[in-house]
């Protein structure tokens, strides 16, 4: 290079020593400057880390953090034996992110998906090409095989996972279909309870949707790994243990279906209470609905037993008698004049359907004399009588964990007129729910102690840690055990020959009961409609169950409670006692019961058993199984159940004998 430039001008050649020493000094200057600027930058950067400006922090919050509302898996509802009444299953949806699909891929993708999803191609094309959207649901609740096919399509079109993916959505299932529908309720599309326990315990069951702050990348995808299972576990809804006994509920509903067939009522309700604890073992109404598909008609969804306050009619008389006996005014054997069927109280006339003259107090209950009941109430006096009615729980809510409970009305002791007191004694001019009647009846059976109705025993979180525990709860002692026994004996006569409800008899047991046939008040006047009802408990000597059956407006055949409601009572009582293993009294077994044993057996098939075969479960033949057995048997296996339809299994994929690993899909078709 030295030869390239112009010849040196000799004037100012400095000696190497001068040059070298100057260059060393200048090198230090250069180095010092570089270090000083770098040091400054270093401090500035550290400052940006440790003390960023407010604007930066604001931008960071807006740009970096996304909120994810995680819908918790809704908790289960179980019966008293831990059987599933309501549960949640995951179902796959097919999602596309249009922004991730390049324009030239739209056509082949919609072509391929059209055959897989069975949707018109142009429809898919417009959805996949939708601008400005990041989330388009192409198909819902697809076949598990479709999921595999979609994955294949995604690979063949070279799309990344976030472009076309499967989203697992939680779906509520009621494996028992219509069973207990009014108590369970149902959930709306947004996943919240709309009726029943689903509504009243929504806070526990939904587990509260959890709002996750999580960092997302530019495309809005999560950075911090899948929030999947642990978060869902944390957010999971709680399990609700109810007092309902699935079999007794089934027995009760079948009895009501019989009522529906025989009497064609507008509706009918029944409640079965465990006398000692106040546990609701069954609570049923007809008509009913399927919470898996609640439909739009609210009428069949109404829980009449809790949400309707009706005039109870003659079933009120045992409580009137109990008040009089407890006050020491009468005993069961005390004579009372039933005035030959017609009695004037002031200007008002009270009539008995079956006229009697002098009878005992016990006969007033047995023959259901209005006049006798009125006289007993008048003897007790307004203040005392109304107090007893309140003590039996009338006119106040029971506090059961169900929405829309009615209070019913009992007239005030201060303002009640004698005729009103008289009619109240036989259940007119007073209203109550079927549930209230059931709890009052259970109080008679429970030696005079009224219990709070218990529907929920325990609420547990996903780890089984109890969040809420409810033991049996006494409300008040209404009458003494002696009075309770006295009234029980009166009520037993009702089901004995000559009483109004011989059809309520259960072979092998003494049954205490009372019929009622109330005139249905419509627009303030009594019309032609009747409400036939029956209250009772059994065995009378050591009561286990209190049962109330109420039939609203029977439109076929008899309308008397002793005819429309008592047989259902007997059916429930007989089958439930047998199921509970209560020993019948051999002396009372006057007739051999026919084949209802077989019917109880039929309630449950052999449960589905799975065999582990190296890599998965060997699937048995599910054909003919009801949904609840499928869910109960396969639920714990981890197999991805995809359930179509309802009723009984008509098809399964893969077929019986195939091995399915946990997490793999199994399609079950029911009809």
């Amino acid at each position: 290079m030295s030869r390239l430039h112009l010849p040196p001008i000799p004037l100012a050649v400095e000696s190497p020593e001068v040059v070298r020493s100057r260059s060393k000094g200048r090198t230090r200057i250069v180095g010092g400057l570089l270090l000083a600027v770098l040091g400054l930058i270093c401090v500035r950067g550290a400052q940006l880390c440790i003390a960023p400006s407010d604007r930066t922090i604001r931008e960071a919050n807006v740009r970096r953090w996304g909120q994810v509302t995680l819908q918790a898996r809704r908790g289960q509802v179980l019966d008293r034996n831990g059987r599933q009444l309501a549960t949640s299953v995951d179902t796959p949806n097919i999602i596309v992110d249009p922004q991730m699909v390049p324009p030239d891929a739209i056509q082949p993708l919609s072509e391929a998906l059209s055959t897989v999803l069975g949707r018109p191609e142009d429809e898919l094309r417009s959805e996949i090409g939708r601008k400005g959207s990041r989330y388009v649901r192409l198909a819902q609740r697809v076949h598990p095989r479709t999921v595999v096919d979609v994955e294949r399509v995604r690979k063949s079109t070279n799309l990344p996972k976030p472009a076309l993916y499967v989203e697992r959505a939680s779906r509520r299932y009621y494996p028992e279909e219509t069973l207990l529908s009014h108590v369970l309720g149902f959930i709306s599309a947004d996943g919240h309870g709309r009726a029943g326990i689903e509504f009243s315990l929504d806070e526990y069951l939904s587990g509260g949707t959890i709002l996750f702050q999580r960092r997302h990348d530019l495309r809005g995808l999560a950075v911090d790994g899948p929030l999947g299972d642990t978060a869902r576990q944390r957010a999971a809804g709680m399990t609700v243990h109810t007092t309902i006994d699935r079999r007794i509920q089934r027995i009760t509903e079948r009895a009501l279906e019989g009522v529906l067939l025989r009497s064609d009522p507008v509706s009918a309700s029944a409640v079965v209470v465990d006398v000692e604890t106040g546990d609701i073992l069954a609570l049923a109404n007809v008509p009913t609905f399927n919470p898996n598909a609640p439909g739009s008609d609210p009428a069949p969804r109404r829980n009449h037993a809790v949400q309707d306050a009706i005039e109870p009619g003659s079933v009120f008389k045992p409580f009137t008698a109990a008040a009089a006996v407890e006050e020491g005014l009468v005993t069961g054997a005390s004579p009372i004049d039933c005035e030959g069927g017609t009695w004037y109280l002031g200007r008002s006339r009270i009539r008995d359907d079956h006229p009697h003259g002098m009878v005992t107090v016990s006969d007033v209950v047995k023959y259901s004399s209005n006049i006798g009941a009125a006289k007993l109430a008048l003897q007790v006096g307004a203040e005392g009588f109304i107090d007893y009615m309140h003590a039996f729980g009338f006119g106040e809510r029971t506090g059961i964990a169900l929405p829309g409970e009615r209070r019913g009305t009992v007239r005030s002791a201060d303002t009640i007129r004698p005729i009103e007191l008289a009619t109240t004694s036989y259940g007119q001019g007073v209203t109550s729910t079927v549930l209230q009647l059931a709890m009052a009846t259970a109080a008679l059976a429970n030696e005079g102690v009224r219990m709070k109705p218990r529907l929920v025993t325990r609420v547990e979180d996903a780890h089984g840690v109890p969040e809420y525990v409810q033991g049996p709860e006494e409300v008040v002692r209404v009458i003494s055990p002696e009075t309770a026994r006295e009234v029980t004996e009166m009520m037993v006569t009702v089901t004995e020959p000559g009483g109004t409800a011989t059809r309520a008899r259960v072979p092998g047991f003494r049954v205490a009961g009372k019929t009622g046939t109330a005139e249905k008040a419509e627009n303030g006047r009594y019309g032609a409609g009747r409400i036939g009802s029956f209250i009772g408990f059994l065995p009378a000597d050591d009561p286990v169950l209190a049962v109330v059956v109420s039939v609203d407006e029977p439109r076929k055949g008899s309308r008397y409670g002793g005819i429309v409601a008592a047989p259902a009572f007997a059916e429930i009582g007989e089958e439930a006692l047998r199921y509970l293993g209560v020993e019948p009294d051999p002396e009372l077994l006057d007739e051999v019961t026919e084949s209802s044993e077989e019917e109880v057996e039929r309630v449950d098939n052999e449960p589905i058993r799975l065999a582990w075969a190296r890599e998965g479960w060997e699937i048995p033949d599910l054909g003919g199984r009801p949904l609840r057995e499928v869910v109960a048997g396969l639920g714990p296996s981890g197999i991805q159940l995809d359930i179509r339809g309802s009723g009984h299994v008509v098809g399964q994929d893969p077929p019986a004998g195939a091995v399915v690993a946990p997490g793999q899909p199994l399609l079950v078709t029911l009809k």
Partner: protein
């Protein structure tokens, strides 16, 4: 001169090289920087690389290869006779110019609106990275050959600028590589200054450079926008200020100690160049102020060690090469870190050893090797 005294005081002979002149401190700093760089490049790029190439270590692997090639080149420089190296300067100079020219030919490979790469099999080579080092050596060689004659502005300084600087700058101009142009101009200034250019010429030159800089800014609209966004990045958060704000968000997220390696969010699409120009933002997010200071501190340590080598150099050539390389490292670090810290307008320059860039890391490892060689030469008997 106060700075001289200060740096003299700072440069106390605490860490002398061994008796052969081998500077373990410099060697160690280079190794640590390479390792730190590899770690952060993987951390900053694995997500993007996985998405784009299906291989999280795509960039990591290439950086490793780059370091390997650099080590081979540096070893070569360390073992061949010194005079061979000086003889190789002119051919290398010419070869580099040819490579720079080739970029503009059909052999070149364009990316992001600039053609700066040569396709070499699976990897692309960026001659402008090599050009910076070659320019330093070539300029040092020229000035050393004219030792003691820098008062002759017309005979020495002007030819230096015309013959050395102008061809490079011209080719850079065609590549629209503004950053490298500025670096080359700065290097020329530093080398002339250290070689003994008179102060009045230095001041004049700086003034000319400033005017040239201003002219370049006025001439190109996008440079104006960059300057405006540098002054207030929040003014256009979605546009020109986007990158810098994202960098600040990353730093703010990092806080004192950071979110941890690979856990940064900036690289998830927010920062356009997380593993190259904005690697320091990723360092700040994942390792916090501590990591940022380590990165800047290591750069400072490196520059300091090289300046010390320059002071010990046996001849003017060695001294100029060392100070030029110190400036090369220091200036690039200043510009790269300064952009992220908001103290400089945006400029596409790498952070030596820490940014991804196979060409850059080859050249930088080679440069470190050359400095080590200069150090070795300082203890060799003058034959």
């Amino acid at each position: 001169m106060s700075i001289t005294e200060l740096t003299a005081a700072l440069g106390v002979q605490t860490s002398e090289p061994d008796e052969n002149g081998w500077d373990w401190w410099l060697f160690g700093a280079t190794c640590i920087l390479c390792g730190f760089g590899l770690l952060m490049i993987y951390s900053a790029s694995y997500a993007g690389a996985d998405r784009t190439y299906g291989d999280p270590s795509h960039y990591f692997t290439r950086q490793v290869i780059g370091i390997g090639i650099g080590v081979v080149a540096a070893t070569l420089v360390l073992v061949v006779p010194w005079r061979w190296l000086r003889r190789a300067v002119l051919p290398t100079h010419i070869a580099t110019l040819i490579l720079l020219g080739a970029v503009l030919s059909p052999l070149g490979h364009s990316a992001k609106g600039a053609s700066r790469w040569l396709a070499l099999g699976p990897m692309n080579f960026q001659p402008s990275e090599l050009a910076k080092l070659v320019f330093v050596i070539s300029m040092a060689h020229f000035l050393a050959c004219n030792e003691g004659r820098l008062k002759d502005v017309v005979g020495v300084v002007l030819p230096a600028l015309v013959l050395q600087l102008a061809p490079f700058v011209g080719l850079m101009y065609f590549q629209k590589d503004f950053g490298t142009t500025v670096i080359l101009a700065g290097l020329s200034g530093v080398l002339l200054f250290v070689a003994g250019l008179q102060k009045r010429w230095l001041v004049g030159g700086a003034a000319v450079a400033l005017v040239g800089l201003a002219a370049m800014v006025v001439g190109e609209e996008y440079r104006q926008r960059r300057l405006i966004s540098f002054l207030d990045p929040f003014a256009d958060i979605e546009g020109t200020g986007y990158q810098i704000i994202q960098g600040w968000i990353a730093l703010a997220t990092g806080g004192p100690t950071g979110t941890g390696i690979t856990s940064g969010v900036a690289q998830r699409g927010f920062l356009p160049e997380p593993h190259t120009d904005f690697i320091s933002a990723v360092i700040g997010e994942e390792l916090g102020a501590v990591g940022w200071c380590c990165a800047a501190g290591l750069q400072m340590f490196l520059v300091w060690r090289i300046v010390l080598v320059s002071g010990r150099a046996r001849d003017l050539f060695g001294g100029l090469v060392a100070v030029g390389i110190a400036t090369l490292f220091g200036a690039q670090a200043i510009i790269n870190l300064g952009v992220v810290a908001g103290l400089m307008p945006a400029k596409g320059l790498v952070l030596p050893f820490l940014s991804y860039g196979a060409s850059a890391v080859i050249v930088h490892v080679l440069a470190a090797g050359i400095v080590l060689r200069v150090g070795l030469e300082s203890r060799r008997e003058v034959s």
